[in-house]
Amino acid sequence: MKILVGVKRVVDFNVRIQVKADGSGVATEGVKMSMNPFDEIAVEEALRLKEAGKAEEVIAITIGPKASQEQLRTALAMGADRAIHVETDEDVQPLTAARILKAITDKEEPKIVMLGKQAIDDDNNQTAQMLAALANWPQATFASKIDVDGDSANVTREIDAGLETLSIDLPAVISTDLRLNEPRYVKLPDIMKAKRKPIETFTIAELGIEPAAAVKVLKTSAPAARQAGIKVASVDELVAALKEKGLI
């Protein structure tokens, strides 16, 4: 069985985000970019399934500019067998991403599409769900444990009230949450080997997809700076201050 894993190039989680001066978005020039951490967990889980003999091939896929191949190389160095790059310099919204993944899914026929539950850049948390709908496949989102058994899988999900375990038939879409696993460190020889692994490239047009611009970003701005606090000497003063602000 094949596993298709989505990998997105995002601003590294350590980087202090800066909004562009004209409010048109977040500054990404000269900023460290990395694989979305939730996607790293997805890659790791796919590799563990392969290592446990539950899958034969792990294919990493990304949608983005040419430089996104760096993130594919990371996935290949971690152990993915090959990679697919859908190249575009345009901003890709979740519905477009889901359509592209659907097209690749039709070609590759994986049993599991494993995606990070959301990307840390725009935090949409939509692509996995949309893909499941487009493909008419079962979905198990926010996975914290995955047991694959033949043509079905038991997936434990992190939900508000605790944990929920689903039994789903494969093929299915699974999105990964933080506690699923701890991704491995990449080994130096594997980085060298990854350079020789194949990356297949498509444009969005070649896949016959019309990008959807369902959402238009009007303005990006930084959150307002927190105001300095005041110190009060007594409970009475505190109560008075709260009353003055109309808070009690």
Partner: protein, 550 residues
């Protein structure tokens, strides 16, 4: 422990200007001579450029030699220097512009470029990779590996996945041996392996101790009408007193950004001095503040530089390896530049190795030819010319020293028949705290001046939390028992990242706290601790600052 290993012809430690120049030159030579060569560069930063911090005004001399067609190749040298201004700041509110003819010649910048050295290194790395160099960012060279005859045989990368007490976590990955016929150490100023090599092979015999400065840098986006791309501003004087060397810089880069910073020589004597706070209050002088008002601080970082110059350059060769760039120390203090000399010495190291390979086996051999190559190069010539610049400032103070420098450089062209020495190491210069005045640093206004923690936040520094502390105390009692009573533990102030604190334990006793995860890898503690009790070792690869266009 049985470790995996990989063998290369040449391993280079550090993907900075020196290491990457060496890598590119090796591949160029191999290509010209139609030879196969395997070269690997290892870099502790999470990506190339992540740990690069420099002014920077780049003199493109070495780059011209390496890639005469750098313009066509798209090197990010986009802002030629258009004007040079030097101010002598007298007080917080005043500064005098130094007329151009009074400025020592090495400080003239026509023909140079204002660059982000991190971006230049990223570009160099692209060139190197295109020529077949293997570059591994995110891996720290933790130890030098030796053959039985004590020659260097390569390096060991640090273990990944050790917990704070040194035990192996589930994700543990043992370090790997990278073996080489020759290893080039290009770690930058105060490289921790370079330091060990200098001791082991006695490379500093007959030379002066290295001297250092701490550079603290910020990048601001400023109002477009105040921005003048290519303008270079330097300041001397306030806020430092006449016996503390140092000065400020402000360079107008691209995109309405300015890079500004302040360097304090680490041979300062007042233990109450805080380089960070000097930098912050320096910005309040109108010569600087008028650019920043209405602007926004984008990023922050700090790095030690070596400024000992010619008198402090160690021997560059030892069995199995070479030193290049700031790991040895080729910064030209009079020009306030070291990138061009770092790159050039990288080229020299590459040429030395390649030439030696043509005549026989070089594995573990000492390639002493590098020392002659350096002496016959323009690097030596320019360091020789400016050799008395640093010692003059040290001997006579900034003002008189500056006047000497003008005569030395502009009249005598550095040819005066004597060489001054400064033989006091920087860690031996502190006076007891009780004898020194406490500077009156203003509270941060959060407009122009800031505190340390909000600053470190802008360096995007991160270390895996659960790992052994990478700042080692040889004697853990010294900070509280000796440094605190004598010097009010200066680490609290010289560290620009708030790593060191003296706090109280439950019983109210003083304790020395090390917040290693804040460390921006500047190496100042390793240099300035009066007891030389702090040793900087590599944390887990990928940790440290994540500088963008520093």
């Amino acid at each position: 422990m049985e470790r995996e290993s990989m063998a290369f012809d040449v391993v280079i430690v550090g993907a900075g200007p020196a290491g990457l120049s060496a890598a590119c030159r090796l591949m160029q030579l191999a290509k010209t001579h139609e030879q196969e060569l395997t070269v690997c560069v290892i870099e502790k930063g999470s990506e190339v450029g992540a740990h690069i911090l420099s002014g920077a005004v780049l003199e493109p001399t070495a780059l011209n030699e390496l890639f005469p067609d750098w313009k066509e190749k798209g090197a990010p040298l986009n802002t030629p220097v258009s004007a040079d201004e030097v101010y002598y700041l007298t007080t917080k509110d005043k500064g005098i512009k130094t007329p151009s003819f009074l400025i020592p010649k090495p400080m003239h910048n026509a023909g140079n470029y204002i660059v982000s050295m991190a971006n230049v290194c990223r570009w160099l790395a692209e060139q190197a990779e295109a020529m077949g160099v293997e570059i591994f960012p995110g891996f720290a060279a933790a130890e030098v590996l030796y053959n039985e005859d004590d020659s260097v045989k390569g390096i060991l990368t640090g273990d990944m996945g050790l917990s704070v007490d040194g035990t192996q976590k589930e994700c543990h990955m043992p370090g790997m041996e990278l073996l080489a016929k020759q290893t080039i150490f290009a770690e930058g100023c105060r490289g921790h392996l370079g330091k060990q090599l200098m001791q082991k092979f006695d490379l500093r015999k007959e030379v002066d101790p290295q001297h250092y400065g701490l550079g603290i840098k910020e990048i601001w986006t400023i109002e477009p009408e105040k921005h003048q791309a290519g303008l270079v501003v330097h300041t001397a004087g306030w806020p430092l007193d006449d016996h503390t060397e140092g000065g400020g810089f402000l360079y107008h880069m691209e995109n309405n950004q300015v890079a500004l910073g302040f360097i304090v020589a680490l041979n300062y004597s007042n233990p109450h001095l805080s380089p960070f706070d000097e930098m912050q209050r320096w910005k309040l002088n109108p010569k600087i503040s008028h650019y920043l008002e209405g602007g926004k601080r984008i990023t922050y970082g700090a790095r030690a530089v070596n400024k000992g110059g010619m008198q402090s350059v160690p021997k560059l060769s030892f069995p199995g390896g070479l030193l290049a760039g700031c790991d040895a120390g080729f910064l030209n203090g009079a020009k306030i530049k070291g990138n061009h000399t770092a790159m050039k010495t990288g080229l020299l190291a590459a040429e030395t190795i390649f030439e030696a390979m043509q005549t026989g086996d070089i594995a573990g051999k000492e390639l002493g030819a590098i020392n002659d190559k350096y002496r016959n190069s323009w690097v030596y010539e320019e360091l020789h010319k400016t050799r008395n610049f640093g010692p003059a400032l040290y001997k006579f103070g900034t003002l008189m020293g500056g006047i000497f420098a003008w005569f030395d450089q502009n009249i005598f062209a550095g040819k005066l028949p004597f060489t001054w020495h400064n033989t006091t190491p920087d860690h031996n210069t502190l006076k007891p705290a009780s004898e020194c005045p406490k500077p009156d640093y203003p509270k941060p206004d959060n407009v122009l001046t800031f505190d340390k923690l909000s600053s470190v936040f802008l360096s995007s520094t991160n270390h895996e939390e659960d790992q052994p502390c990478h700042l080692r105390l040889t004697d853990p009692t010294i900070p509280i028992d000796k440094n605190l009573p004598l010097y009010d533990e200066p680490a609290q102030r010289y560290c620009p990242a708030g790593v060191y604190e003296v706090t109280k334990d439950e019983k109210g006793n003083n304790q020395f706290q090390i917040n290693g995860q804040n460390c921006v890898h500047c190496k100042t503690c390793d240099i300035k601790d009066p007891a030389q009790n702090i040793t900087w070792v590599t944390p887990e690869g990928g940790g440290g600052p994540n500088y963008g266009n520093m």
